[in-house]
């Protein structure tokens, strides 16, 4: 036991434990208790190790549960159907093709006809037909429309078109619905499974990489929903945050650390900054709602308002990090520059700030990573709205990645679970990336004076 104690670093070998060389002939007063004390020592140590281990295991469970739920969202089941681009529908009068007719035409019926062709005997009564149509995504028509708009010569021909399966069938195809359950307990019925197996045995069902997940905005249909809109929203919002909080934060830090006189007023600023760092994020959301939206009339749900709220939130982080980076620059540099005739401002802008920049940037990236993961204040300013379009500018309605996670997590469809987990994986990927950059920056430019 003594060796386990003395190997621990950071402290000298505890002199209180009896040296091993002590002759056994001299019984110690402490020896009767010694075994008990050592066993207590062991228990205590194990308890500490168990705590760290518990944190690690929890982290593994958390990440494991998200990856195991979300990895399947990166592919999608699609089915090849023979679709006739009916001339009666697309070009009823037989003349030149009109774009408007093409845009308005009912493509879903063509897909459904294609589906009925596979199962001629299935389309007897309305209920069964509706069930059959449920195999494919109700948004399957979008792909057909863009095909025809791109190439009007398709009209009148029959093509093999790959259309997305509906979310339920996709979930089933990925094996998340147990076909051994009694029929009443699962969302996919025996009949649908039969059809699916027939299509599958004909080799018509394909699992493809889900490109749309990365290139489309939100949708009510899980198989159509993507994170692109939220990603762009996050980028726009963080741009505003960075543009506001970085210059203001660095300037505030430079003032407080380099120029400010020590008086009651600067003390007040300092206390304020420390307190702001601990104010619950939702309170910043209330501030944004009351001041930015209601008072200044900024647009709701827009990256501009969201970015400003997040900027106020990350400001303390940036100021505190920048101040410690400035503090780490040794006074000799300032004195040398002053001695050469530089003005105080020149000392800071030409010498101190460049030397402190790696530390400031590290703090800024960490602040941005926090802002990227923040949800609550953005709910307050309406970024939780359902938005299909990809935002084009700072005043367009938008949502951000974590809010998208929240919206999807609230959706009842089973298929949104995997979408949510996949969005979380993307979000975590960005956070890991940002933190890795911060760590690299720190490692690369760390300097001991």
């Amino acid at each position: 036991m003594t060796d386990t104690i003395s190997t621990s670093p950071g402290s000298p070998p505890p002199s209180g434990t009896p040296p091993q060389g002590r002759p056994a002939s001299r019984p110690l007063l402490v020896s009767p208790h010694l075994a008990k004390r050592y066993s207590r020592e062991r228990t205590f140590r194990l308890l500490g190790l168990a705590s760290v281990g518990a944190a690690g295991i929890i982290l593994l469970i958390l990440l494991g549960s998200i990856v195991s739920k979300g990895y399947s969202a990166f592919w999608q089941h699609e089915v090849d159907l023979q679709v006739t681009f009916s001339a009666e529908e697309l070009n009823p009068d037989g003349g030149p093709v009109e774009i408007e007719t093409l845009q308005r035409a009912n493509y879903l019926d063509m897909v459904r006809d294609g589906l009925r062709r596979e199962f001629p005997d299935a389309a007897q009564d309305r209920r069964e037909r509706r069930m059959l149509y449920g195999l494919i995504s109700p948004n399957a028509d979008i792909r057909l429309r863009s095909m025809v708009l791109e190439d009007p010569s398709l009209i009148g021909t029959t093509q093999t078109v790959r259309v997305k399966m509906s979310d339920d069938m996709d979930t089933f195809a990925k094996g998340f619905i147990d076909r051994d359950l009694p029929e009443g307990d699962r969302r996919v019925k025996d009949r649908e499974i039969g059809w699916f197996d027939q299509l599958d045995s004909k080799g018509l069902v394909h699992a493809t990489f889900n490109v749309d997940f990365f290139t489309t905005g939100d949708s009510r249909e899980p198989e159509e929903a993507g994170i692109y809109g939220a990603l762009i929203g996050s980028i726009l919002t963080l741009t505003v945050t960075l543009l506001v909080s970085f210059p203001v934060g660095v300037m505030a830090a430079a003032y407080l650390e380099e120029f400010a006189p020590k008086n009651r007023f600067t003390d007040l600023i300092e206390v304020n900054i420390n307190n702001l760092a601990a104010v619950p994020s939702i309170v910043f959301g209330l501030l944004g709602l009351a001041v930015f939206l209601n008072f200044f009339g900024l647009p709701r749900s827009a990256p501009l308002a969201g970015g400003l709220v997040l900027a106020l939130m990350t400001l303390p982080t940036i100021i505190i990090a920048s101040r410690s980076a400035l503090k780490a620059v040794p006074p000799s540099i300032r004195e040398a520059a002053l001695g050469l005739g530089a003005s105080p401002l020149q000392v800071v802008t030409h010498h101190v700030l460049p030397l402190a920049m790696p530390g400031i940037l590290t703090g800024t990236i960490i602040g941005m990573a926090q802002a990227l993961g923040e949800t609550a204040p953005l709910l307050m300013i309406g970024m939780v709205a359902f938005i299909v379009d990809v935002p084009q500018g700072f005043t367009d309605p938008a949502t951000v990645l974590p809010v998208q996670v929240y919206i999807w997590a609230d959706s009842p469809e089973r298929a949104f679970v995997e979408k949510t987990s996949a969005a979380i994986m993307v979000l975590l990927g960005f956070l890991v990336l940002m933190n890795a950059v911060a760590v690299l920056l720190r490692k690369r430019f760390e300097r001991r004076w």
Binding site: T7, S8, P9, G10, P12, P14, S15, G16, Y38, R40, E41, F44, G48, S51, V52, A55, G56, I58, I61, L62, S65, P247, G249, M251, A252, Y255, F259, I269, N272, I273, N274, N275, L276, A278, V279, P280, S281, I282, V283, L286, L287, L289, A290, L312, L315, S343, A369, G373, A376, L379, M380, F394, P402, V405, Y406, A409, S421, I424, L427, L431
Partner: protein, 461 residues
């Protein structure tokens, strides 16, 4: 977006002014920059300041005032029959319709000719104002340029002027922190004040019944009796308590192990691991709580014959505790490391084992700091939003049973403010009153915790 381009153009103008001022200064010195009072670049900056600051200030003022003036002109042009006797919210609705028509959105009154006329008037006024704004800002910028150009001569103390301006800008930047606090306090106080004119203060703080929905129907009898926030406070405290039961022992023991036992290699692996736990967004914890932990607790409860609600306080509290573990452990780690080595050495010298030293010397010595860390953690737990929004319930049950669903202050703020709002109903305003309570409680906890920690630091310095 248009405004953004104007800002960029003004900045470009200032940049042009910079080179012009610089060149002018060198020229006035007869091509001998050493005859100038300041470096040539300061004359450039001097000119850029004279262009940029007045024009950008004008732009800001213009943007704030313009919508109000234009909209009041448009509303004044409407037929009197439409605007007479409107309440402020109906007035806002009408204005909104006009705005929607003007920007080509769908509106309920799109076909009304008066609205159409007003909308086109709004559009044309906006266009005129935009052009006027460009002319005015660039005009004032050009004026600044001319003035600065005129003033530039070798004896002008350009550096001192520029540095004075920079100093003012720096002071303004550091004032933003104070402005934010003032903004928070004022906006919360203002809205809460309106709320307390509708619902008595003592009823909000001590009432036992919370159901803000009834206030939607203002004519309903007894609608004012539903704003008792005690169930929310109890729910918040219950979840916070569960979180601390999880986080305090695990966080503290991890900190002790990392500070006293772990070798550097283990630390190098375990510290980043805890930091990862701290860096995970709370919405992810919320998803984990709602989808993994809550069903797990419910199944376990069913297994042993307990009735666990699917939105139990237990699940939300435990996950919140997990989130707080790294917070407690990193703060306690710092505090334990700050205990002077001499105290440890003394204890070892008296024959104590390591754990005895920790228990009877280090922890008591670090206790104030640890208490401060725990208080900060409590404040974090009280203010945490996403986990409880996703995993705790909405119904305001007054209970301390962790297996039942409770709701918290933050959950109610989110529920009340997400979606459509009208700002004169007690329902919406109550969210600000809750925010005020939240702000002051967390502020008090932080102030106490920081002063405790500071006192402790002074003891060993």
């Amino acid at each position: 977006m248009q405004t953004f381009i104007v800002v960029l153009a003004l900045l470009g103008f200032a940049a042009v002014g910079y080179t012009m001022g610089r060149a002018r200064a060198v020229m006035t010195a007869g091509g001998m920059p050493k005859d100038l009072h300041s470096l040539p670049s300061y004359y450039g900056s001097y000119t850029a300041i004279w262009i940029g600051i007045p024009s950008l200030l004008l732009l800001a003022v213009w943007l704030i005032i313009q919508p109000q003036i234009i909209e009041s002109v448009v509303m004044g042009g409407l037929p009197a029959a439409m605007t007479e006797g409107l309440s402020s919210s109906e007035y806002g609705l009408l204005l909104n319709d006009i705005r929607n028509v003007a920007s080509g959105n769908i509106s309920s009154r799109a076909n009304d000719p008066a609205i159409e006329a007003a909308a086109s008037q709004l559009t044309s006024l906006r266009d005129t104002s935009f052009i006027l704004m460009i002319v005015a800002t660039f005009g004032i910028g050009a004026g600044g340029l001319a003035y600065a150009r005129n003033r530039i001569n070798p004896s002008l103390r350009a550096r001192n002027t520029v540095e004075k301006v920079v100093n003012v800008v720096l002071i303004i930047s550091s004032l933003i922190a104070i402005l934010t606090t003032v903004g928070i306090v004022l906006s919360l106080l203002f809205e809460s004040f309106i709320f307390f004119t509708k619902v008595p203060f003592y009823e909000f703080l001590f009432g036992l019944n919370w159901s803000p929905q009834t206030a939607l129907r203002a004519d309903q009898v007894g609608s004012s009796g539903a704003f008792g926030a005690v169930p929310l406070f109890v729910g918040t405290l219950l979840i916070t308590f569960i979180a601390m039961v999880v986080a305090a022992p695990i966080g503290l023991m991890s900190a002790i192990y990392m500070a006293e036992y772990a070798d550097p290699r283990f630390r190098a692996f375990a510290k980043p691991m805890l930091e990862v736990l701290a860096g995970i967004p709370t919405v992810v914890y919320g998803f984990f709580a709602a989808l993994t932990v809550a069903p797990f607790f419910r199944n376990v409860g069913e297994g042993i014959g307990l009735d666990v609600s699917s939105e139990s306080a237990l699940a939300a509290g435990v996950v919140m505790g997990i989130m707080i573990i790294p917070f407690v452990s990193s703060l306690s780690d710092d505090v334990i490391n700050a205990v002077p080595q001499s105290l440890r050495d003394g204890s070892y010298g008296l024959g104590a084992t390591k754990s005895e030293t920790i228990r009877s010397v280090i922890v008591p010595a670090a206790l104030p700091g640890i208490v401060g860390a725990l208080l900060l953690a409590v404040s974090r737990a009280i203010g945490e939003t996403m986990i409880v929004v996703m995993a705790a319930g909405l119904a305001a049950n007054l209970t301390v049973n962790p297996l039942e669903a409770v709701t918290t202050v933050t959950v109610q703020i989110v529920t009340l403010l997400v979606g459509d709002q009208e700002f004169d109903s007690a329902k919406t305003l109550s969210a600000f009153a809750l925010g005020l309570v939240l702000f002051f409680i967390t502020l008090a906890l932080n102030v106490i915790a920081l002063s405790v920690v500071r006192k402790y630091r002074e003891k060993y310095d």
